[in-house]
């Protein structure tokens, strides 16, 4: 959505600009006429520069020439106490940043990656705050998550949460990051805005995305298996497919591929599209009031049964079922069941989520502005997955 504002131009520093949310925010801010500085790492294993990395994303975002002209890329690294900036760049950013959009984060849920997650989400944030200490910045906009340790029985409110109920190191780190930000901002008199999206997927209208994790990966794997066993059935008499109970319906060419997805409880996954996330944050940046924590969530979660049925319908696969099992049950599973259990494991808490997100504060600003979160329908799923498959899961995007 192209937004036209009467607000005066501001000077932003955006971290995480090569990430999914950060890139969309950086692009939207520059389209709105703001000056945007991006802090982007140069990857040691790749020969591409920070500028190259951003330019490719800017192409993909189809930013206007005017918006691109308002963006400056700074090669830097949140891992370093001085952000690895040159002296000139550091001076410039300290003197010219009015507001920070902090979107850089590690989004891994893995306990094994705890150190890496905390390095980025806590130490990296600490480095950013130390760097900006005493600078001209008056506002910090931080991208957090709706899952910062909410209460499973009571609605999760748009307030700082007590430190309990975190399901993984990611949630834990984001909770700590909020506390760190609160302390810094209250000490320095900086206005803090915290945005807590739930699980973000591609553009619900166009399907566009360049991240194919979370919602996408199980679908990608199922599509892979479908192609693999279709080929086996059509070209190799189905020797391997048969051993796994996979067959082809000769009448409608539907592949029968038995996979049992299991869940024990919960209402489903809370999914929000990227354009809702971006539009909401831009709108909420200027929300009135002193409490500035906002849930960017969907009022309706999507049950696992819907996701499984959407996938079967799109890929013409039968035999995939989502089953409810009791907490005590641990049924024997086939290799494919087991494989997909592994895929779903990190997301299982979100699939089985019982948390309800109260977004009334965000809604006060968003509803009058006409910003609504769409329900996750089959047509949106189809749009998103068609884009994913057409782009060969990102291979053809040139990013």
């Amino acid at each position: 959505m192209m937004r036209v504002r009467s607000k005066p131009e501001k000077r932003f520093l955006v971290t995480g600009a090569t990430g999914f949310i950060g890139s969309h925010l950086a692009g939207a801010l520059s389209e709105e006429g703001h000056s945007v500085c991006l802090l982007i790492r140069t990857l040691p294993t790749q020969s591409t520069t920070s500028d190259d990395r951003w330019n490719r994303i800017a192409d993909w975002l189809r930013l206007s020439p005017a918006a691109r002209a308002r963006i400056t890329v700074f090669a830097g690294d949140l891992d370093a106490p001085d952000l690895n900036l040159s002296a000139d760049d550091a001076r410039f950013l300290k003197a010219n940043t009015e507001e920070i959009v902090h979107a850089a984060a590690s989004t891994s849920f893995s306990e094994r990656k705890r150190t890496e997650i905390f390095q980025t989400n806590i130490i990296g944030l600490g480095n950013l705050l130390s760097f900006m200490d005493g600078a001209s910045c008056s506002r910090i906009h931080a991208i957090s998550t709706a899952y910062v340790g909410g209460n499973p029985v009571a609605p999760c409110m748009e307030v700082f949460s007590p430190p309990h109920g975190c399901l993984n190191p990611y949630e834990e780190s984001k909770h700590q990051a909020e506390i760190l930000l609160r302390e810094f901002c209250s000490r320095k008199g900086v206005r803090l805005f915290i945005y807590r999206p739930s699980i973000v997927y591609g553009n619900s209208r166009t399907g566009k995305t360049f991240r194919f994790n979370a919602l996408y990966h199980p679908v990608r794997s199922i599509a892979y298996l479908r192609d693999l066993f279709m080929k086996d059935l059509l070209e190799n008499s189905g020797n391997q497919a048969r051993k796994m109970g996979i067959s082809l319906d000769p009448t409608d060419h539907t592949l029968h591929m038995p996979i049992h997805f299991r869940k024990r409880q919960g209402t489903g996954v809370n999914l929000v599209p990227i354009e809702y996330c971006t539009d909401s944050i831009l709108e909420l940046m200027n929300a009135p009031g002193t409490d500035r924590i906002f849930h960017i969530t969907n009022t309706k979660s999507t049950p696992l049964t819907d996701l499984v049925s959407f996938t079967g319908r799109l890929l013409k696969i039968s035999g995939m079922v989502a089953e409810g099992v009791s907490a005590q049950q641990n049924p024997t599973s086939s290799a494919l069941d087991h494989l997909f259990q592994r895929y779903m494991e990190p997301y299982q808490p979100y699939i089985e989520d019982t948390r309800v997100f109260d977004d009334s504060r965000a809604a006060q600003t968003l509803l009058p502005a006409g910003i609504h979160c769409p329900g996750f329908s089959y047509s949106i799923f189809e749009q998103c997955m068609t884009y994913a498959m057409k782009s060969n899961w990102g291979r053809t995007l040139g990013l």
Partner: protein
């Protein structure tokens, strides 16, 4: 005129001697098999081309013969590519062309015995030729050059005054006496090769290549082996009789191994090491007298002392033990997440006497062998470590009962069938260049990062095998697709043979480790370690890694193999270097020096740590004297 490309390829020869044995069953260099001097084998020809390119080797009578006897049959091309990825046919061709052009231009050929410094035939050589016959003793530079140097960074190159190839123990006695009479030093090489810099001489170089006798004694489960018999050739003959021998690398000579270090292999967990493997041996003393190990009046070669030891004699034959095999033998791998876990597990297997061959192997070791190309090996190593979370694997060679025992220990098992599937389908598992479509690795990658059991556990499920097979399409053709097009047919034929993916066979014949030096020359640091102190092994491994990393020397874990029911083990840690890069040579020398200090310190303070350098010339000592010496 030797081209720069040929000279570069020639300079890359690692002297691993794999062109001197028919380890792929594809035939042996006919000129080498007939003439035995290293110069007639592809390895020697590589050294000759390197010397010609450097302007250091004139066209001599022998060089003409060496060039003429090469039929360009191509047997060496596959043998060399298999372990090193080098393409050496162009080198072989250029050697012939160089000689032909020289002759065509009417240039002179230096006669074989034209020794200008002596103004006449070297009297030493004359006497040596009397012992072996004129064909088998030479000081022609085209012969001696192939014995001049090796890829080790500590080698001090020396050109032998003469190279001699005895056929019998009597001839060895005669050679030693001639050396003594002339006051000339001598050095012995099993198959003429050197890789560690120990066997350089400017005196007489005795190459035992021609002493190829093998006498099997089925009644006593023994075989008596001459000094020119390679580990591969002996294993081949034993295998044909349904026996197994405990031997070292395939091109290594059995007798030379006995003298230098004793046998270190995964089979040592049951067959032992040092004196465990042989019944008796025959030697020729430095005075030229024959003696046997069992003789009372001779030097006590069973003793061990932690000190550098002079050569007690030339081992001319050894009576080795033969071991039985069963029909249900199988190799399999147990993936583990850390070295500590691997050490504890392999020790438990050893204590429980599970498996007749055991070893902890690093991902580098396994991926190097599985992959016919080094770029593919790097991708496989990366996947093994990060996606499978299996930086180490315990190799178990055992029978059906051993497998059942490991299964009962609730361990993930990657069976030989799965190993075969992965190896034959490897190019489809880890495409080196970006694929235009999803592969199994793309699909499994996100699971590697997740918590819970490592992905290797999933891979070990037998009901997942159809998926893996459908994804990888394992076949000799698929495997061969990873090598240059002109070699694919040969690789396809090779991998149609079941033994090439049979873990027991590959370990018996020591083919599994043959690709470790493919990217760079390998400098193995081998020591005996106390397996009941995994923290000591861990400290040694991390210490060696720190040393090499600090000097920017490529390094990796080699293997650990238990000994003596889990009390002790071999540890091999490997440094690597580009043998032609002076800066790498300098840095690897420094790394070796620091590594030596580390090992000596550990050896002085921890019981059970013994450096292999002290087994040089003490390889037939009693195992207990070494393993339990203070």
């Amino acid at each position: 005129m030797i081209s720069r490309e040929a000279a570069r390829t020639a300079g890359q020869c690692r002297h691993y001697s794999m062109c001197k044995i028919d380890y792929l069953g594809t035939g042996l260099c006919p000129a080498g098999a007939e003439n035995h001097f290293v110069s007639y084998y592809p390895q020697g020809r590589m050294d000759l081309v390197k010397a010609i390119a450097a302007g250091k080797l004139p066209v001599t009578q022998r060089l003409v013969d060496i060039a003429n006897t090469c039929t360009l049959c191509g047997a060496c091309e596959l043998q060399c590519h298999f372990i090193s990825e080098l393409r050496l046919m162009s080198v072989m061709k250029e050697l012939k062309e160089h000689v032909n052009e020289h002759l065509a231009a009417g240039n002179p050929v230096l006669p074989e015995f034209d020794d200008k410094s002596l103004r006449r035939n070297d009297p030493l050589l004359v006497e040596l030729r009397e012992i072996t016959g004129p064909r088998w003793a030479s000081n022609d530079p085209a012969i001696t050059t192939a014995y001049f140097s090796d890829p080790s960074p500590v080698t001090i190159p020396k050109l032998p005054r003469a190279v001699v190839l005895p056929k019998s123990v009597e001839e060895v006695e005669g050679i030693v006496r001639v050396a003594k009479k002339h006051g000339v030093p001598f050095m012995v090489r099993g198959n003429g090769s050197s890789v560690m810099g120990f066997v350089m001489t400017d005196g007489i170089l005795v190459d035992t290549q021609r002493m190829k006798t093998m006498d099997f004694d089925a009644d006593n489960w023994c075989v008596t082996v001459g000094a020119g018999v390679s580990a591969f050739d002996l294993q081949k003959e034993a295998f044909a009789r349904r026996y197994r021998v405990n031997v070292a690398e395939p091109a290594a000579m059995v007798c030379a191994n006995l003298m230098c270090s004793g046998i270190m292999s995964l089979f040592s967990t049951t067959y032992g090491t040092l004196d465990d493997g042989y019944v008796d041996a025959e030697f020729v003393s430095p005075e030229g007298n024959r003696f046997r190990l069992k003789d009372n009046r001779q030097p006590d070669l069973y003793r061990f002392a932690r000190e550098d030891h002079p050569l007690a004699g030339i081992c001319t034959s050894v009576q080795m033990k033969l071991y039985p095999m069963t029909a249900d033998e199988e190799g399999f791998l147990v993936p583990v997440e850390s070295l500590q876990e691997a050490l504890v597990f392999v020790r438990e297997l050893s204590i429980r006497r599970i498996g007749f061959g055991l070893g902890v192997l690093g991902a580098d070791y396994i991926s190097a062998f599985m992959s016919p190309a080094s770029a593919l090996a790097r991708a496989v190593k990366e996947s093994t470590e990060s996606t499978l979370r299996a930086p180490f694997m315990v190799m178990v060679l055992g029978d059906a009962k051993d497998r059942a025992a490991v299964e009962s220990m609730n361990r993930t098992i990657l069976s030989n069938d799965l190993f075969r599937t992965l190896m034959l389908g490897l190019p489809n598992l880890s495409p080196v260049s970006g694929e235009s479509h999803d592969t199994l690795t793309d699909i499994l990658q996100p699971l590697g990062d997740a918590d819970g059991q490592p992905l290797s556990h999933l891979l070990g499920r037998s009901d997942l095998q159809p998926l893996i097979e459908a994804a990888l399409k394992p076949s000799p053709e698929t495997h061969a697709s990873a090598v240059p097009e002109d070699l694919r047919a040969a690789y396809t034929r090779l991998y149609a043979r079941p033994e090439m993916t049979d873990l027991v066979w590959l370990n018996m014949f020591r083919i599994l480790s043959s690709r470790m030096g493919r990217e760079k020359h390998l400098l193995p640091l081998i020591m005996y370690v106390p397996l009941d102190k995994p923290e000591v092994i861990d400290a040694l491994v991390s210490g060696l890694k720190r040393i090499a990393d600090s000097l920017n020397v490529k390094n990796d874990f080699g293997f650990v193999s238990p000994l003596d029911l889990g009390k002790r083990a071999f540890l091999e840690y490997d440094f690597y270097l580009d043998q032609n890069d002076p800066d790498e040579i300098r840095r690897s020398r420094m790394a070796l020096g620091a590594a030596a200090e580390l090992i000596e310190r550990a050896s002085a303070s921890v019981n059970g740590v013994q450096w292999i350098r002290y087994t040089l010339n003490q390889g037939c000592c009693r195992k207990e004297y070494l393993l339990y010496s203070p």
